[in-house]
Amino acid sequence: MFVPLLVFRNAFRHKLRTTLTIVGIIVAITAFGMLRTIVDAWYAGANASSSARLVTRSSVSLVFSLPLNYAQKIRQVPGITSVGWANWFGGVYITERNFFAQFAISPSYLEMYPEFVLSDAERKAFAADRVGAIAGRKLADKFGWKVGDQIPIRGTIYPGTWTFTLRGIYEGAEEGTDTSTFFFHFDYLNESIKRQFPRRGDQAGVFIEQLRDPDEAAAVSQAIDTTFRNSLAETLTETEKAFQLGFVAMSEAILLAIQAVSYVVIVIIMAVMANTMAMTARERYGEYATFKALGFSNGFVAMLIFAESLGIAILGGVLGIAFTFPMAEAFASTVGSILSGFQVSEETVAMQFAAAVVIGVVAAAVPAWNAARVRIVDGLRAIG
């Protein structure tokens, strides 16, 4: 059909105008995709976490620790196959800007995370070295660490400079697995603390439990918390996923703002494109009138405008989508340790495409309507 040819040639009649419009759409669609991906990444940690593991913490606040001897009682709760514990270390590696998560963990903890993949040799080396540590691949790559390196970390919660020997670098079993964390032995931390501040010893930040059956999560959580009700430190147990989502919820306001803003960029470019189509259509009233004089219908003229608008918008959209991927890569390499799981999802791509279509349709709506309705004699007057 000659329509595609006509539409294509018309679209590139004003090469500069069309190119500028396409560039604008590319920028908008890419920005839209990036912002959505940032929000996704924020939730990614939560989504990657397990529903087969539980997290037990102080019901008062995460900031408070629990007595270490709770481990035995928890182990006895039916439905639990294993218990581990971890303390947030919160230290500083060289400068505050090099932020990454550090945990002091029990040996059982590592066993409960099969998604952290280590060679047997590394596992053994770590277990054998009291001051040993393991780090995730992304983290190790960021600082150029190799197995055997000495890693000094300045404690904030636990004062002093602590030096660890890197005994292994773990990979993630899946795409979404976080590999930006640093782990070392709980016992090392505990013994050192007990020497300086005896009363701060034998305290666990959180307990992690492995469920025999994920469907029992609610019941088992309840059971654990009941065990410690009315005791010195009451507990709150939830699935790991719920725990992570709790963190995300705290930044909810910011996330909502980012999501809102991502739609604003679409609106901005819609205004730009609507302007472009309006100007373009107005300039061609003579041609539209000629088409109608020759016998083409009002609908035909409207269709020409919609087709041109959609064509430009979708072209810009597809290019924008393509461009989002390398941009996301670049972004991930800079903020990877703070925000992991930075991947452009299928849903985002679909939304980007939909946005491009919406832009094309909305931008053409009024101009197409007007052009369809222009009277032949009025339109012809526009020529000459």
């Binding site: 000659f2 006509l6 040639r9 018309n10 009649r13 003579g286 041609e287 000629t290 109608k292 004089a293 020759l294 016998g295 083409f296 219908s297 009002n298 009277r375 032949i376 004699v377 012809l380 020529i383 000459g384």
Partner: protein
Amino acid sequence: MSSPAERDTAGHAPAALPPDSEALVSIRDLSKYYVRGDQIIPVLVDIDLDVNAGDFVALMGPSGSGKSTLLNLIAGIDKPSSGHIHVAGVDIARLSDADLALWRAANVGFIFQFYNLMPVLTAFGNVELPLQLTSLSRSERRERVDTALALVGLTDRATHLPNELSGGQQQRVAIARALITDPTLIVADEPTGDLDRTTAGEILGMLERLNDELGKTIIMVTHDPKAAEKAHRLIHLEKGVLVD
């Protein structure tokens, strides 16, 4: 701006009046006026006119005489406020917009003062345009376009865009386009208005041949006395009324 009378005649489609003459174009009591606020501005008043098949008619008159409006009404690109226009037995004043479009495609060939070619289509593509509304196959269309272009002597310019053609050449493409569907009528609004003396002469000669050799009925609006000379019949309008 449609008047109540206009809406009445064009919208309700009462029983169509049969033509009372053998003429190709038969106009009776044709009027057209615009309403601006509470003022009624007449453009054409009670026109009665017959044009026979094979006629070459020139509509002439001073600016504002209504000649272009009359042409537009005959060509079916405007609707009258009242009256009848029969073209080949069809009262086009009664047709709906959609039907009128179809009617035009089959029955009218247009030649405009400023050629009105699509800038993004080649000469070939422009001439082919009216055929896109038919169900002809690609090769059938090609055949006809080639014939039409040959007729106006532009076979070697078929692949050129309008901006690569001179004014005269563009007008010849327009003529080829006007012929392509073998229409009942050819309607020309100041066809030589944008051309120099020589080229105007060429175009007029071509129109003359279309009328003489192909028997095409041509209704032309013009200022140009030289163009008027080529016509067989001169019709004068002044202030919306026929004068002799």
